[in-house]
C-alpha cells in the first residue's frame, strides 16, 4: 500500500516536476533581474504550443531525425524509473541498477548527437562534438561517485545506496561532498550555467541548444521536456542523498520524507537559478577543469570512505 502511494508520487513528480523545476528556475532568474517573471507553470503552455505546431524537417535529414527525440524521451523516462527521487524510493530496483541508469542515459545522449549530425550543418555538428566531450568526461565522475556511495553503505541497488546509514557524522561529510560533485555534474548534464547557457542563441556559445537548432514542433517539445525531466531526476537523486530521514514502513515518516525531498528539489532549483543569474558561463577550454574539480570532490569522498574502512 505504501509502495503504491510512493509509486504514484514518483510518477507524478517525474511528469509534473519538470514543468515546475523550469518554472522555479526562470522565476528566480527573473527576480534577480528585477522583473516579476513568468508563471511557475509557464513551460506547460510552451510545450502545449509546440505540440500543436507542424514541424518542418530539413531536406537532408533521414528517419533518424524524427526518431532521435523520441528515443531521448523514452530513455529519460526509463532512467527516471530507476532513480530514487522522492523519499529515496525507486520503482525498479535490482543489483547494480545504477550502472544501467548511467548507460540508459548514455543511449539518449548518443541519439541526440546523431539527430544533430543528421542535419548536415556545422552548428549541430559542433554541438554534438561538445556534448560528446563534456558528457563523456562527466559520466565517469558520476559513476565513481555512485560507486563510492555503494561502498560506503555496502549496498548494491540505487535505492539502498542513497539511504542514510548509521554512522551519522562520517555520513554527513561524505554526502555533502558527493552532493557538491553531483551538483556540478548536474550543471553539465542538464545544460545549465556554468557549463552551458540555455538562453543564449549565439551559435558559437551553445552546447545543448545548438544540437536542437533544427528541431521544431513536437520534436522540440519532446527534447525540451526530456531535458527538464533529466534535470528533475538528477535534482531528485541529490535530494535523496541529502535526505536524512529513514522512513521504513511508517506512513507519517514517509510523508515527511517525501515533502522534505520535494523541498530539497525546490532548493536545488532555486540555487540553479541563482547561479545562472550571478555567475557567467565558463569558457569551453576550462570546462575540463570544472569536471576535474568535481572529480577531486568525489576522490575526496573516496578518501573519507577508505579512511573510515581502514582505520575505524
Amino acid at each position: 500500500m505504501l509502495q503504491l502511494f510512493l509509486l504514484i508520487i514518483h510518477i507524478a513528480v517525474i511528469f509534473v516536476g519538470p514543468i515546475f523545476m523550469i518554472g522555479i528556475i526562470n522565476r528566480v532568474k527573473s527576480l534577480w533581474s528585477g522583473r516579476r517573471g513568468p508563471r511557475l507553470n509557464q513551460s506547460y503552455f510552451e510545450l502545449l504550443r509546440l505540440l500543436r505546431k507542424t514541424p518542418v524537417y530539413s531536406q537532408v535529414t533521414s528517419w533518424i531525425f524524427p526518431m532521435a527525440p523520441t528515443i531521448v524521451l523514452a530513455t529519460t523516462i526509463t532512467a527516471s524509473l530507476l532513480a530514487p527521487i522522492v523519499a529515496g524510493y525507486a520503482p525498479i530496483k535490482f543489483p547494480m541498477d545504477f550502472v544501467a541508469f548511467v548507460y540508459i542515459l548514455g543511449l539518449g545522449k548518443l541519439m541526440m548527437m546523431l539527430g544533430a549530425l543528421d542535419t548536415g550543418s556545422a552548428f549541430e555538428g559542433m554541438g554534438a562534438s561538445r556534448e560528446a566531450t563534456y558528457s563523456g568526461l562527466a559520466e565517469p565522475v558520476f559513476l565513481l561517485g555512485l560507486g563510492t556511495l555503494a561502498w560506503a553503505s555496502n549496498a548494491t541497488t540505487f535505492q539502498d545506496l542513497v539511504a542514510p546509514s548509521n554512522v551519522p557524522l562520517l555520513d554527513l561529510g561524505l554526502r555533502i561532498t558527493i552532493s557538491l560533485a553531483f551538483f556540478a555534474i548536474l550543471m553539465i548534464e542538464a545544460s545549465r550555467v556554468p557549463a552551458d547557457d540555455p538562453t543564449t542563441h549565439l551559435e558559437l556559445t551553445m552546447v545543448h541548444e545548438v544540437m536542437i537548432l533544427d528541431h521544431s514542433g513536437p520534436e522540440l517539445a519532446m527534447v525540451q521536456y526530456a531535458s527538464a525531466m533529466k534535470l528533475t531526476m538528477l535534482a531528485g537523486i541529490i535530494a535523496s542523498i541529502l535526505n536524512p530521514i529513514v522512513s521504513g514502513d511508517n506512513v507519517f515518516l514517509t510523508i515527511v520524507s517525501a515533502l522534505l525531498s520535494i523541498l530539497l528539489m525546490v532548493v536545488i532549483a532555486i540555487s540553479i537559478g541563482m547561479i545562472e543569474s550571478l555567475i557567467a558561463r565558463l569558457r569551453f577550454v576550462t570546462l575540463p577543469l570544472y569536471v576535474l574539480a568535481a572529480f577531486v570532490a568525489v576522490v575526496l569522498s573516496l578518501v573519507i570512505v577508505t579512511a573510515n574502512r581502514e582505520y575505524f
Partner: protein, 659 residues
C-alpha cells in the same frame, strides 16, 4: 570432430583444384557448412552440461601421441569461431564479386579461410604444446595470406608483412615459454605443464609473463597492437572482421588456458592483467576517436574491447588469488560473454565497412556522408552495431560490461585498498564507454548522415549486395537476442565459467549463484520498458500530433550558400577531446599551402598515426644506422670467400655437436 576436420581438408583441396570459380566456392562453402554442423553437434552439448570429450591421435614424430580434449573452454570458443568464419565466407562471395567474375583463382582465398577454420580445431582442442604451436602457425600464415589478397598494392603487402613479423614475435615468445616448460617437465603435454605452472617459482613467473606477452601480441593489447591498424585497413573487409572477431581471440583463449593451468594465480598476476587491460582499453578508444579510416578505427576498437575483456579476466584472476568465488564467476563470466558479444558486433561493423567500401570505393570518413539515402540496409545495421560497440542498452555490449561492472563493484569485504583500485577501474570503464560513444556518433554520423563531403564518392550505379547483407542481419539477430534476453548469454557462458570456478575456493558453485536469473530478468524488464515506452511515444506522436508536410533547407544562420564541405568533419568532431588528451596522440600533417601573388589550390591533410609503431620504426631505423656504420668498417670480401667461410663454419658446428 574428425568428420569436421576431414570435411575442411576436403573443402580446401576442392577449392584449389576444381575448374571454375563458382564450383570452387560452392564446394568449399558446403564443406565449411558440414564442418560447422559437425562441430556444433559436438560442442553445444558440452556447453549445456555434458562431460568433456577426450581422444587421442597417434602421430609419428616428434610426438607419438597427441591428446585431444574438448572441454567447455575450447568448445565455447569453437562454437562461435566456425560459424562466424562460415558467415564471413558467405560475405566474401559478395565482397569479391568482381574477382569471382574475373579470371583470378578465388579458390585460394576460400581455401585459406578453410585453413584458418582447421587451425581453430587444432588450437582449441589439442593438449600438446607442439601441436598447439603448429595450429597457431597455421592460423598466422592463413591470416597473413588472406590480408595480402590484393597483393599488387605495395601498401597492402607492407601491412601484411608487418602483421607477419608481429605474429611471429608472438610465436617467438610462445616458443620461449614452451621451451622453459619443456625443460622443466621434459614433456609437451599440457597436463604435465600444470604441475610446473601451479607451483610457485621464478621460472614459473617468467613463463607466465612470456605467455601473457605472446597472447597480448596476438590479441592486440596495447602496446603490442601496432600491427593492427595497418593490417585491418589493408585486408578485405571480411578478413578484418574474422581477424578481429575470431582469430585474435585465440590469444584470450590462451590466457584462460594458462590461468586454468596455473590454478591459483598470485596476486601480482591479477593486478598485472588488470593494469595492462586498462591501459589497452583506454589507449584503444583514444586512438579510435581520431582515425579517419573506418577500418583502422574499428581495429583500434578491437584493442579497446579486448582490454575490457582483459579487465574481466584480471578480476577473475584476483578472485582466484584471494579466494572470492563471486569475483571469479563475474570476472570470467563477463570476459567470456564480452568475447562472444564483441565477435558479434565487431564482425557486423566490419561487414558494414566493407559494404561502404564496395558502394563508394572509399573508407575515409572525411570524404563520405549522406549514405543513408541509398544504403537502406547497411544504415540501420551499422547503427545497431555502433550502439552495441558503445555498450548501450538494450544491446549486447551492455550486458557483458554490466557483468564486469558487477564484478568490480561487488561488496567484497576484505579487499581493502583493492576496492579503491576497482572503483577507479569502474571510472575508467565509464570513460572508455563515453569515448566509445563519441567515436560511434562520429563514425556513424559522418558516414551515413548529412551530405556527401566529396562528390567523387557518389557512384549512382552502386548497389548493396544481398550476400553481404545476410551475414550482417544474422549478427544483428544475435546482438538483439543477447541484448534483450541476457539470460541467453549467461546460459552460453555458464559451463566455461564453471570450469574456472572449479579452481576457486568453492568448486561446486555455478554462475547462476552470482548472476541470478532475477538479475538477468530485471535487465530484460528494463529493456522491454524502454522499447515499449519508445513504441508508445512513436504511436502517439505519429497518430495524434502533427506530422511534417514540408521540407526546407537546414538552418544555416542566414548564410545563403552552404555546401557539403561546411559540415563538421571527423577531425573537428573529435577536436575537443583530442585537445584534452593530446599528448598521447600523434598527428602528422601534409600541407601545400598556397603561396605567391596568384596562388594555386593548396591542400592540408592531417592523419593520426600510431605512436608505438612510430617508435618501433624509429628504433629500427636507429639500429639500421648503427649496423650500417659497423658494416662499413669491415674489409671488402668477395662472395666466393664468404661462401667458403660459411660452409667451413657449418661443418665445424656439425662436428662439434656430433662429438
Amino acid at each position: 570432430m574428425l568428420i569436421a576436420g576431414l570435411s575442411l581438408i576436403a573443402g580446401m583441396l576442392g577449392a584449389l583444384v576444381l575448374p571454375t570459380n563458382r564450383s570452387r566456392i560452392a564446394f568449399n562453402l558446403s564443406a565449411q557448412f558440414v564442418a560447422c554442423v559437425c562441430v556444433l553437434f559436438c560442442t553445444i552439448p558440452i556447453l549445456f552440461g555434458s562431460a568433456s570429450q577426450q581422444g587421442y591421435m597417434t602421430w609419428s614424430y616428434p610426438v607419438e601421441r597427441i591428446d585431444l580434449s574438448l572441454d567447455p573452454l575450447g568448445s565455447f570458443f569453437l562454437t562461435f569461431s566456425l560459424p562466424m568464419t562460415f558467415l564471413g565466407s558467405v560475405y566474401a562471395v559478395g565482397y569479391l564479386e568482381h574477382d569471382i567474375k574475373s579470371t583470378r583463382h578465388v579458390g585460394t582465398h576460400f581455401a585459406l579461410l578453410t585453413l584458418v577454420q582447421f587451425s581453430y580445431i587444432i588450437v582449441y582442442t589439442v593438449q600438446n604444446a607442439f601441436a598447439f604451436l603448429v595450429g597457431w602457425e597455421f592460423a598466422a600464415i592463413g591470416a597473413w595470406l588472406l590480408v595480402i589478397w590484393y597483393h599488387r598494392n605495395q601498401k597492402i603487402r607492407f601491412a601484411g608483412f608487418n602483421y607477419l613479423v608481429s605474429t611471429h614475435f608472438s610465436l617467438l615468445f610462445l616458443v620461449a615459454a614452451v621451451v622453459i616448460m619443456h625443460g622443466a617437465t621434459n614433456s609437451f603435454q599440457f597436463s604435465d605443464f600444470k604441475e610446473f605452472l601451479s607451483t610457485s617459482s621464478v621460472a614459473r613467473n617468467i613463463t607466465f609473463v612470456l605467455l601473457m606477452t605472446s597472447f597480448g601480441l596476438k590479441s592486440a593489447f596495447f602496446p603490442f597492437h601496432s600491427w593492427l591498424p595497418r593490417a585491418h585497413s589493408a585486408a578485405p573487409a571480411h578478413v578484418s572482421a574474422l581477424m578481429s572477431g575470431v582469430i585474435h581471440k585465440a590469444g584470450l583463449f590462451g590466457m584462460f588456458k594458462v590461468i586454468s593451468l596455473v590454478q591459483t594465480p598470485e596476486l601480482w598476476m591479477g593486478w598485472y592483467l588488470i593494469i595492462v587491460s586498462c591501459v589497452s582499453a583506454f589507449m584503444g578508444v583514444l586512438y579510435t576517436i581520431s582515425q579517419r579510416d573506418i577500418k583502422r578505427l574499428l581495429g583500434y576498437s578491437s584493442t579497446e574491447n579486448v582490454g575490457i575483456a582483459g579487465i574481466g579476466i584480471g578480476v577473475g584472476c584476483l578472485g582466484l588469488a584471494m579466494k572470492y568465488p563471486s569475483l571469479v564467476a563475474l570476472g570470467f563470466g563477463g570476459a567470456f560473454l564480452h568475447i562472444f558479444n564483441h565477435a558479434l558486433f565487431k564482425c557486423l561493423l566490419f561487414y558494414g565497412a566493407g559494404s561502404i567500401y564496395r558502394f563508394t570505393h572509399s573508407i575515409d570518413l572525411e570524404k563520405l556522408g549522406g549514405l543513408h539515402a541509398r544504403m537502406r540496409w547497411t544504415t540501420p545495421l551499422f547503427l545497431i552495431g555502433s550502439f552495441a560497440g558503445s555498450a548501450l542498452p538494450p544491446f549486447n555490449g551492455f550486458v557483458s560490461e554490466f557483468i564486469i561492472y558487477c564484478g568490480l563493484l561487488q561488496p567484497v569485504a576484505e579487499l581493502g585498498m583493492g576496492r579503491v583500485v576497482f572503483l577507479l577501474v569502474v571510472a575508467l570503464l565509464a570513460l572508455v564507454g563515453g569515448l566509445a560513444a563519441l567515436s560511434a556518433a562520429r563514425s556513424f554520423g559522418l558516414i551515413f548522415l548529412g551530405v556527401a563531403r566529396d562528390p567523387s564518392c557518389v557512384h549512382p550505379e552502386s548497389k548493396e549486395h544481398p550476400l553481404m547483407i545476410i551475414p550482417m542481419v544474422i549478427h544483428l539477430v544475435g546482438i538483439l537476442l543477447i541484448g534483450i534476453f541476457p539470460a541467453l548469454g549467461v546460459y552460453l557462458v555458464t559451463q566455461p565459467t564453471t570450469l574456472m570456478l572449479k579452481l576457486s575456493s568453492s568448486p561446486d558453485a555455478v554462475l547462476s549463484e552470482f548472476v541470478p536469473m532475477s538479475l538477468m530478468n530485471s535487465l530484460t524488464f528494463v529493456s522491454v520498458i524502454l522499447i515499449s515506452v519508445f513504441a508508445l511515444i512513436m504511436v502517439v506522436r505519429f497518430s495524434v500530433l502533427p506530422t511534417c508536410n514540408r521540407r526546407h533547407v537546414t538552418w544555416g544562420c542566414g548564410y545563403t550558400a552552404p555546401n557539403s564541405r561546411m559540415q563538421y568533419s571527423g577531425s573537428s568532431f573529435s577536436d575537443p577531446m583530442v585537445k584534452i588528451f593530446g599528448d598521447l596522440l600523434r598527428f602528422i600533417t601534409r600541407e601545400e599551402l598556397p603561396v605567391g601573388v596568384f596562388p594555386e589550390d593548396g591542400k592540408y591533410e592531417t592523419h593520426c598515426i600510431d605512436t608505438v609503431e612510430r617508435k618501433i620504426f624509429s628504433l629500427l631505423a636507429g639500429v639500421e644506422k648503427v649496423a650500417d656504420k659497423a658494416m662499413r668498417k669491415l674489409p671488402e670480401v668477395s662472395e666466393f670467400s664468404f661462401a667458403i667461410g660459411l660452409i667451413a663454419l657449418i661443418l665445424l658446428v656439425c662436428l662439434v655437436t656430433l662429438q
